[in-house]
Amino acid sequence: MRAVLIAAGALVMAFAVTGALTDPDFKGGALVFLVGVLVAHDAVLLPLTIGAGALIGRFVPLRSRPLVRSAALISLAVTVVALPLVLGPGTDYGRGLLEVYGVVWAGTGVVLVIRRVREGRRRRGDTRPRSPLPDPPPARSPGPPPTPGPAPRSPAPGTPPR
């Protein structure tokens, strides 16, 4: 099974290379682009993303951190899709991109505030009569984006990926 997959993949890759080299429409610029996107991602975008994550770890309070990381990653993904629309020809999509950022970060802010209020109430002992409004359901947050499993984890020893 494994050998079949590996051999089939090698054959398909060989087909791709010979097909590209014999296609009169195929230009060498595609090779430049192939290497370019690899270097741009592995040597620029990903290190910058990891660096931004380290900054979040430095400046954002511990309990808000996972949610802020989540919102930052969502913003990054949307940016990758929208940036060519913003920079490219035709209609200006700058406003649309800002609107999506607005939705993402407003949603994050709402979730953080709700969580803080709820935790504050819990810390005060919660012996006083409750507000007439029923408590929101405890597990899930309302509105996008949903809470990405924010419970603090036990700092177990690292398991290196394989």
Binding site: G29, D42, T49, P66, T159, P161
Partner: protein, 407 residues
């Protein structure tokens, strides 16, 4: 294992491939190569496997739908594409683009999850390891190539791409799917173990848990879909603030890719001496606009479905192509037509309409859109509109039709 039974050559080759190579001097183990350079607590084979499977499914969908689109545009002798259902291509190409856009966060997370392995030490253990690492480089480069060139094409921003998009995207698709198959074969045991055993989540406090990261990727993919899919799913239009095209935009409420000005046909199409030439096996007909309007007119509601993923529905009125084929003396049930635009040049200046689309009474040489004469940007004086075809094959500004028998 049957390895003992293998002939000596294979065994020797295997031994040579797994012969350890001398490690580089330890002093070179700097920066990201250092032990503990990455916090690997949030990464796990299980996370990578889950992301990898999702990405594999997404890439397979993109490959299949993309191949369909390619085959329709460059049909080999064994390939046939039906004219019904009328909106099938609209669905396959819409799914192609939506899946590709949604795989942006998936690919990003997947590559992050294995990033420390890029800096494994020693960089190459043995020849087999070298080949495997090279194949992973091919996979990553091809995957990035596909997603990024696809995003650029949807935005119609070609400056950053120093090649012809269609050819590059097509061959890189084969490269990516081949590398994906090989990668799956190599990693199958790891995936199997990672998914059959429950692995505790060791992510550190303040970081995203495994579930948190998967949820984030899901929300990002969903948000991208909602923000762009309005280009083909009309009800999403109002919230699709990043839709590369909006149904209802453009002249006569229909989007346009290539304008009459851009195609350089403005003078030719407005010339009162315009005549449509229909060349057939029996005779050649020359038809003025008045002649065309004098033929039986039919109205159909058909979508324009662009390869870039947008689609929009129009109400078209004109002459059935099969009637023109009959006029030229060919059998409309067994003919194909070579349709030429008035454009002087351009890759999509001509198209061949295959027999199933000639037979289909919905296939028109349209003269009107929404009851009015075609806007110049929509192909005035006459354009091809056929069911279940990519927009680039719906030739505009038609000047000549050559009919041949298909058999």
């Amino acid at each position: 294992m049957v390895r003992d039974a293998e002939p000596g050559v294979i065994r020797r080759a295997h031994a040579w491939m797994s012969r350890p190579l001398p490690p580089p001097p330890a002093v070179l183990r700097q920066g990201p190569f250092r032990r503990g350079a990455f916090d690997t607590r949030g990464r796990s084979p299980r996370l990578t496997s889950l992301l990898g499977i999702a990405l594999g499914v997404a890439f397979t969908i993109c490959f299949a739908t993309g191949l369909i689109s390619h085959l329709i545009q460059h049909p080999p002798f064994w390939f046939g594409w039906p004219s019904r259902p009328v909106g099938l291509y609209r669905v396959t190409q819409g799914v192609h683009v939506a899946t590709g856009l949604a795989s942006v966060p998936l690919l990003g997370a997947k590559l992050w999850s294995v990033y420390p392995r890029l800096f494994a030490w020693p960089p190459v253990r043995d020849p087999a390891n070298a080949i495997e690492r090279a194949s992973i480089a091919v996979l990553v480069a091809a995957a990035l190539f596909q997603v990024i060139s696809g995003v650029l094409n949807v935005a119609r921003w070609y400056t950053p791409m120093p090649f012809f998009f269609t050819a590059g995207h097509y061959w890189a698709a084969w490269l990516a799917i081949g590398a994906l198959l090989t990668h799956l074969g190599v990693k199958l045991p790891i995936v199997r173990t990672a998914l059959s055993r429950r692995t505790p989540d060791h992510s550190a406090a303040g970081t995203l848990s495994r579930r948190g990261l998967l949820g984030t990727v899901g929300v990002a993919a969903g948000l991208i879909t909602v923000a762009t899919a309005g280009q083909t799913v009309a009800p999403l239009g109002p919230v699709s603030v990043l839709a590369p095209r909006r149904p209802g935009s453009g002249p006569q409420d229909l989007p346009v890719n290539k304008t009459a000005g851009g195609a350089g046909v403005r003078d030719a199409i407005l010339d009162p001496a315009y005549r449509l030439t229909v060349v057939g096996p029996a005779r050649t007909q020359t038809l003025s606009l008045t002649d065309l309007a004098g033929l039986a007119q039919h109205t159909v509601v058909l979508p324009i479905s662009c390869v870039e993923g947008w689609s929009a529905v129009g109400t078209w009125t004109g002459v059935r192509l099969r009637d023109l084929v009959a006029l030229a003396g060919a059998d409309p049930d067994d003919a194909e037509a070579y349709v030429e635009s008035l454009e002087a040049r351009g890759r999509y200046r001509t198209t061949t309409v295959p027999p199933p689309h000639i037979r289909d009474p919905f296939t028109l040489l349209a003269l009107r859109l929404g009851g009015e004469p075609l806007h110049p940007d929509h192909g005035y004086p006459a354009r091809l509109i056929a069911p279940n075809r990519p927009g680039v094959l719906q030739t505009k500004w038609v000047g000549r039709i050559t009919v041949r028998s298909a058999s």
